[in-house]
């Protein structure tokens, strides 16, 4: 059956539901950026960007380290695996269900022909 670790994955889904946060992740895919470097790419205020980054950090999607006075952000894509796994589980679920339907119909169909 299709299951998903609830709390943790909800955080992941929430984190990527916002377009600005997805943009940030996209940016970080190209390499580590300081908070300042990230903020200049957006019209949004720097405090707002910081808030997005905090959420991304709490979701484990962004990891930061201090470099002098600057804070450097890096992408950690691992939590996203849960999202694609969940989707793949659903695909498997429907695949198995449809095969079950096919087997059932074709078996009973044969049975009918044999008995007629």
């Amino acid at each position: 059956m299709v299951t998903i670790g609830r709390k943790k994955n909800n955080t992941t889904f929430r984190a990527i539901a916002d377009p600005t946060r997805r943009e940030i992740l996209n940016l970080l895919r190209g390499g580590a950026h300081t908070v300042g470097d990230i903020a200049v790419n957006f019209r949004t205020s720097r405090p707002a960007i910081s808030k997005h980054l905090r959420l991304l950090r709490s979701a484990g999607l962004v990891v930061t380290r201090k470099d002098g006075t600057a804070r450097v952000c890096r992408l950690n894509a691992k939590p996203l695996r849960a999202v694609s796994t969940w989707l793949r589980e659903y695909e498997a679920f429907w695949g198995e269900s449809l095969h079950g339907l096919k087997d059932y119909i074709e078996k009973t169909e044969r049975h009918r022909e044999e008995n007629s």
Binding site: I4, N10, N26, G100, L101
Partner: protein, 149 residues
């Protein structure tokens, strides 16, 4: 079997030697549905209730992996026997789940029925945040993130 998934939509197709009417019956008749809906060792459907009319409720119960009980329920949205069946899908294993939509399209030709399944609105199942960007999110995920993980 040809699974393709675009964004948060799952589309799968299978051809069955049998009439569309028989397939439709197997989908909607509780006695028949419990006979096929399951996968050995993964999940098994044990009970189904079905009020087959527009707006009518349906539900099915069973056991998942390790005997864990599950329940899925929903409402019939479109019934055009034997070529179309649309119902909502609300699983018990998701907290705060919103309904997603399952659509079965049946096309019969020379006694062979092509069954096309579309499950859409999947992401609403995991999140109450409604957001138009979901389709992009998941395709984005697949194409860019997976190789990195």
């Amino acid at each position: 079997m040809n699974p393709t998934s675009v964004s948060d939509i799952i589309v799968q197709e299978i051809t069955i030697k049998g009439s569309a009417d028989r397939v439709f019956e197997a989908l909607t008749n509780p006695d028949q549905r419990v006979k096929w809906w399951g996968a050995e060792g993964r999940f098994q459907t044990t009970h189904m209730e079905s009020d087959l009319r527009h707006g009518g409720k349906w539900m099915m119960q069973g056991n998942g992996m390790g005997g864990k009980p599950f329940q899925v329920s929903g409402e019939y949205r479109q019934i055009e026997r034997p070529r179309l069946l649309v119902f909502t899908w609300l699983p018990s294993w998701q907290e705060n789940a919103l309904e997603s939509v399952v659509r079965f399209e049946l096309e019969e030709k020379n006694g062979i029925t092509t069954v096309r399944l579309t499950h859409s609105g999947l992401t609403s199942e995991t999140s109450r945040i409604s957001h138009k960007g979901w389709p992009q999110i998941l395709s984005w995920l697949r194409s860019y993130i997976e190789p990195l993980v």
